[in-house]
C-alpha cells in the first residue's frame, strides 16, 4: 500500500515536471585563422527554461562537449627493442576527434552513471574512436588512454569538471580555450541539461574554424599545385640568399 502510494507520487512528480528546453549560444560562430592567430577563447552560454518560457525552478547540471572534426588515425606505441625505443605496435581508429573538450558543472561521475556517460560521450574516458579491426577490450582501453594522454599534453583534449557555472537555476556559461594548433573544420558544441542522472534536454550549436586570407591561400596552393609551390619556395630561398650577399657587400 505504502509502496503504491509512493509510486503514485513519483508518477505525479514526473508527469508534472515536463522536460525543459535549452537555449544555447556561442560567443562566436566563426573563428578565423590568420596571421597572428594564437588560439581562441570560446564562451558557451545559454538558458534552461520550461516549455512555457519561464524559469525551470530546479537545479540542473550542465555538461558542454565541444568536438572538433574527426579523422582516421594510426596510433603507434613505442616499445624498447634492442635497447632503443621504437614504434612497435599500432592501432587504427576511424573517428578520432582532432579536438575534444568537456566542461561540466560538477564532476561527471557525480552527475550521471557510467552507462549514460558512455552513451552521450560525456568525458574523455568515454570517447568513441571506432577502432578499425578488432582489438581486445584491454588493448583498446590502453590505446585510447594513450591517445587521450597525448592529446591532453598538446592541449587538444581537455576536461574541466568545474568549467560550467549555473546561475539562478537559469543561466549557464562555460569557457573553452582553443590552442593555435587546432584543425580547421566544423566544431560542434553539444550542451546537455541533466537532472537526477537523466539527460533531460540537449542542444547543438556549431562553430566554423577556417583559415582566411594569406594563410588560406598558402594552404590551398601547397595542396593543389605542389610543383609551382616548390618553385616559389626555391625562388624565394635563392632570391633571399642573393639579396643578403648584396646587402652585406655594401656594409
Amino acid at each position: 500500500m505504502k509502496r503504491a502510494l509512493l509510486l503514485l507520487v513519483a508518477l505525479l512528480f514526473l508527469t508534472g515536471a515536463r522536460d525543459p528546453i535549452l537555449v544555447p549560444e556561442i560567443s562566436q560562430h566563426e573563428i578565423q585563422v590568420r596571421q597572428g592567430f594564437r588560439g581562441a577563447d570560446l564562451l558557451l552560454f545559454g538558458a534552461i527554461l520550461t516549455p512555457e518560457g519561464t524559469r525551470a525552478g530546479r537545479d540542473y547540471d550542465i555538461v558542454v562537449v565541444l568536438k572538433g572534426p574527426t579523422r582516421s588515425i594510426v596510433l603507434r606505441e613505442k616499445q624498447r627493442i634492442a635497447g632503443i625505443w621504437v614504434n612497435a605496435a599500432s592501432a587504427e581508429f576511424r573517428s578520432a576527434p582532432t579536438f575534444f573538450a568537456v566542461a561540466s558543472s560538477k564532476p561527471i561521475k557525480t552527475i550521471v552513471d557510467d552507462k549514460t556517460a558512455a552513451i552521450y560521450e560525456l568525458g574523455l574516458p568515454w570517447l568513441q574512436l571506432s577502432p578499425i579491426g578488432s582489438y581486445n577490450p584491454k588493448d583498446q582501453r590502453r590505446y585510447s588512454a594513450g591517445l587521450v594522454d597525448l592529446m591532453q599534453r598538446d592541449g587538444l583534449y581537455k576536461q574541466d569538471t568545474r568549467g560550467v557555472t549555473v546561475s539562478e537555476q537559469v543561466l549557464y556559461q562555460a569557457r573553452i580555450a582553443l590552442p593555435s594548433s587546432v584543425q580547421t573544420g566544423t566544431y560542434t558544441a553539444e550542451t546537455f541539461a541533466i537532472n537526477q542522472g537523466r539527460v533531460v534536454a540537449s542542444a547543438i550549436s556549431r562553430v566554423e574554424v577556417k583559415k582566411q586570407g594569406f594563410e588560406r591561400l598558402i594552404a590551398v596552393f601547397a595542396e593543389t599545385s605542389g610543383f609551382l609551390y616548390g618553385l616559389l619556395a626555391v625562388a624565394i630561398s635563392v632570391a633571399m640568399g642573393v639579396l643578403a650577399g648584396r646587402l652585406f657587400a655594401l656594409i
Binding site: G36, V74, G83, I84, A219
Partner: protein
C-alpha cells in the same frame, strides 16, 4: 612575435625561428659546412611536426649556400664538371629518398631512422673532426708544420670502371664515385633536411682525394642544387614545405652566413673547429641517450 605557420598548423615565436636560422647560417659561413644538422632537431624539439621541419629546413640551406657558391666561383673554386656529376647523383638520391621517406612513414619508423642517422653521422664526423683539429692544435703549439696529408683517393674508388678527367679537382677517376656520393647525400638531404656538407667535405677530401681549393666551393655547388631538388620533391610528395617557416629561417640563415664568413677571417680557425667538433659530439651523445631512455610520451598519432 607570434607567427602562424599555415602548413604546420600552429603558431610559433618568429624570433626563435629566426635565431635558429641565424645559428645555422653562422656555422655554415664559418666552416663552409651547413648547420642544417642543428636546425631540424631543434625545430622538432620546439614542437614543429617532424615532417614539416625536415621538409622546410632544406630551403634555408639553399639560401645560405647561394652567396657562398658565387664567392667561390669568382675565384675559380668550383669544379663544375665534378659538381654536375654530383648534382645528377643528388637528384637521383632525392628520388630514392622520397620513396624511402614514404615507406618509413607508412611503417611508422621515420623518426627512429632519422634519429639513428643523426647519431651515426654526427658521432662519426664529430670524432674525425675532433681528432684532426686536436692534431693541428698540438702541431701549432709545438711549432711544427702540419703533417702533410697524402692526397690520394681511396683504393675502392680506383677499382671502379670508366675514367674521366676532372681538371680542376686534379683527378682522373671514375665518375661513378662522385655520382654515388651524390646519391648518398641526396638521400640524406631528403630524409634529414640537412645540406650534407658535413659528409661531403670529408668524403671529397679523403675518399675522392680532390684538391683542397675546390672542395668547399664544389660541395656548396652540389648542396645548392640538391637542396633545391629536395624542396621541389617535398612540395610535390609530402606537401609539408611551410613557406612561412622557410622565410623565417631564411631571414636568419642568409644574414648569419654573411656574419659567419666575416667571423671566420678574424677567429682562430683550428680552435673553432675543435669547439664545433665538441658541440657535434655532445649533440650526438644526447640523441643516442634519447633513443635509450624511456620517452616521456610513448604514443604518437599520424593521420591514416
Amino acid at each position: 612575435m607570434d607567427v602562424y605557420l599555415p602548413i604546420a598548423n600552429l603558431s610559433v615565436n618568429g624570433l626563435v625561428i629566426v635565431a635558429l636560422g641565424a645559428l645555422t647560417g653562422i656555422l655554415s659561413g664559418m666552416f663552409g659546412v651547413g648547420g642544417g644538422f642543428l636546425t631540424t632537431p631543434l625545430m622538432i624539439f620546439y614542437g614543429i611536426p617532424p615532417t614539416v621541419a625536415a621538409a622546410s629546413a632544406a630551403s634555408q640551406v639553399t639560401g645560405a649556400s647561394v652567396s657562398g657558391v658565387f664567392a667561390h666561383s669568382r675565384r675559380g673554386g668550383v669544379d663544375y664538371q665534378m659538381g654536375g656529376v654530383m648534382v645528377a647523383g643528388g637528384i637521383v638520391g632525392t628520388l630514392i629518398g622520397a620513396g624511402l621517406f614514404r615507406l618509413l612513414q607508412e611503417l611508422g619508423q621515420i623518426d627512429v631512422v632519422i634519429n639513428l642517422l643523426y647519431v651515426l653521422l654526427l658521432g662519426g664526423i664529430g670524432s674525425v673532426m675532433a681528432r684532426e683539429s686536436w692534431q693541428a692544435l698540438q702541431a701549432q703549439k709545438a711549432g711544427l708544420p702540419l703533417p702533410a696529408r697524402k692526397r690520394r683517393h681511396h683504393p675502392m674508388v680506383a677499382s671502379l670502371p670508366l675514367r674521366w678527367r676532372f681538371y680542376r679537382s686534379g683527378l682522373y677517376i671514375s665518375p661513378l664515385a662522385p655520382l654515388l656520393l651524390g646519391v648518398f647525400t641526396g638521400i640524406l638531404t631528403m630524409l634529414m633536411g640537412i645540406g650534407g656538407g658535413f659528409v661531403l667535405v670529408p668524403a671529397m677530401l679523403y675518399i675522392l682525394g680532390m684538391s683542397a681549393n675546390v672542395v668547399v666551393g664544389t660541395s656548396l655547388f652540389q648542396i645548392l642544387f640538391v637542396t633545391m631538388a629536395t624542396t621541389m620533391m617535398h612540395s610535390m610528395t609530402t606537401r609539408a614545405v611551410d613557406i612561412v617557416l622557410a622565410v623565417l629561417l631564411l631571414i636568419g640563415s642568409v644574414s648569419g652566413a654573411q656574419i659567419g664568413a666575416q667571423l671566420a677571417q678574424k677567429l682562430p680557425a683550428e680552435r673553432l673547429r675543435f669547439v664545433l667538433a665538441g658541440i657535434v659530439l655532445v649533440i650526438a651523445m644526447l640523441m643516442a641517450l634519447g633513443l635509450g631512455w624511456r620517452p616521456d610520451e610513448i604514443y604518437t598519432v599520424s593521420p591514416l
